[in-house]
Symmetry: C3
Subunit: 268 residues, 3 copies
């Protein structure tokens, strides 16, 4: 599991790296648990001033939850609730670390892939990146906490559009709407992200920590209470989700075999 | 009354249509009551997956409340309070229906015309559309609930501008600021809106309903309590409103007789 | 003190003018107190319909708090708390006046210079204006109330960027992100601002006052409680702030002597 999500420390920068390129960096259940633990460890390291969320390669940031595994474990209420709590654990950990967190969106960020980028404090993107949450198409209900994160980074009007229509944004739309701070050619993105992170690392860690806390406190957010995830549990445990996700997996198998980023586009 | 606001069902799509083109689709008191009832009926129809808010013709979406009628019935506190409750009933009904609601802004959307579009979940517009709320010019106080809806779709900074200066946005400004999801030439708008709605109609109705509920819960909103409309009642019942609206009606009669969309531009 | 911040009344318009051009219109402790008093006086003048926040000259709107004075008086908790309360007094007064307040950003608006513009209801800018809050670089913690004001005008995503990276926006970025309502060549800005203010002055003062109240009520905001400024007091009273601000002042003395706007760029 550690190989599929790992930490690299480079001077004052910590990188949490997704590394499951053969499946579009789709998240397995165990990866969420590992990621939450790694973030908690980074939170306690005073030598790490800034955290980067990244993935290996440069075609996909993350295709979201692994849809095949999700369909197999979410069939019961207990299974669905367990996976949602694991996912929220990572989102909450990103917000809880005192360091600024920068998502380095090197390619497609779909479903939970976009949601995790939205949990970060800043996002930067390759000009080839795409962003979307086609949850409604497969019968998923994004939790209220993640909906609030999308509202936080996209504003309410665009958040309604992303979630109700499944609209996919390209990098320049994401820039124009303020979701990402800058866009760079894919081959220059990581160096630009590193420069930004190093400049932040020269700032006062107390200022960064306290202003991050203030920013989160005054921005849209939702409490992780049963009402925030009740309908998400029901949706994941439903026959409708199994049918819709199976249909999608089947279509992918027939048509999209050689196109992994697109293949995981509709995971969430 | 039914002729001036009616429902048409087209497969999985319900259209609530304003049809008072000779008066810029300005709302009479009875139209609000009819519209709220029609929306409640649509809410209960499981065959209707998406609702479109539209108006006949292609020059005006809605000029807002009918200013002549408004001045005549809002002269007392009871009259002013009654009309405000009717208007809020429609705004609240748009938010309460489980289906996504798309405003098809085929032309000018002014005052309550913009407010009703803001109550919708999504807005699409003709390239000839214009948006504005010149309430302050005629002594109207937009209710706190509607102010919150403008903040929701335009963001606070632009909402201050729209409400305090009466600024009119063209379609491209509305697109750039995120108020509308896309802009099309007027003659292509309805087909593009229908395509969007049909794509949504293929999604899970449970996902759409629950994510709409989450989106509304985490976005700016205000409770419909007396503080939300007290000053609006006072303003509508004031001599200042009667004088300002009479002056506007008189100017229109002299200068704008042949230009209905402009004529209702300053209603609210 | 009165010379460095003063009021001019021009028909229905009140102008609160900063006039300390030799120091980039940086605020001294006494100026905050004077400004709060002047705003309270303007609040009571029914002949003043709109208030403009302006500064003399056309290179700098305000470089923020005077860093040399700030370092000397904020070394104790009592001193740090006192200056923060004075600053908040002006921000709160801008929001409390019933009239609309328009910030006329004729040049650089940095640190508290941007925060005061954000407290205003509207912002208009010269095409040479720049905007930023490099608080983290000198170990300052922007108070939660001011963070909320930045979120209000820039949206959460850009607010995270401005506060955590110290990013400087040019006038066109500020326009595109909605922070300012319009941009004009510097030599045309004041006339354009005056035209806008006069148009507002012709509107109903009751409408403006009540809609301003609603807009503030439904937009991001934070209460001025100890949690909102506790960490700001600690930061200003810290040795880290003294060291970082002294280093900045020293660098300015060596390199930036002839360039006052840049010199005060990093104040906050």
């Amino acid at each position: 599991m550690t190989d599929q999500v790992r930490v690299e420390v480079d001077g004052p920068l910590g990188r949490l790296v997704l590394d499951r390129p053969e499946k579009g960096h789709a998240w397995l259940a165990g990866m969420w648990t590992t990621a939450a633990r790694l973030l908690e460890e980074l939170a306690g390291r005073s030598d790490v001033a800034v955290i980067l969320l990244d993935s290996s390669g440069d075609r996909v940031f993350s295709g979201g939850a692994d849809l095949v595994e999700l369909a197999s474990i979410a069939g019961t209420e207990a299974g669905a609730s367990d996976i949602l709590h694991r996912i929220e654990g990572v989102m909450a950990a990103i917000e809880a670390v005192p360091q600024p967190v920068v998502a380095v969106v090197s390619g497609t960020a779909i479903g939970a892939g976009l949601e995790i980028a939205a949990a970060a404090d800043l996002r930067v993107a390759a000009d080839t990146a795409r962003f979307g949450i086609p949850a409604a198409r497969i019968g998923v209900v994004t939790t209220r906490t993640d909906v609030a994160r999308i509202v936080r980074v996209a504003g309410p009007a665009l958040a309604f559009d992303l979630l109700l229509t499944g609209r996919i944004l390209d990098a320049h739309e994401a820039l124009a709407s303020g979701i990402v701070s800058f866009v760079r050619p894919a081959e220059q993105l990581r160096e630009a992200a590193r420069d930004l992170a190093l400049r932040m690392a020269a700032s006062s860690p107390v200022s960064l920590r306290e202003m991050k806390r203030h920013l989160l406190a005054v921005s849209p957010a939702a409490a992780w209470d049963p009402d925030a995830y009740r309908s998400s549990v029901d949706a994941l445990a439903s026959a409708d989700f199994r049918a819709r996700s199976a249909a999608l997996t089947f279509r992918r198998g027939r048509h999209d075999r050689d196109e992994q980023p697109a293949a995981s586009e509709e995971d969430s």
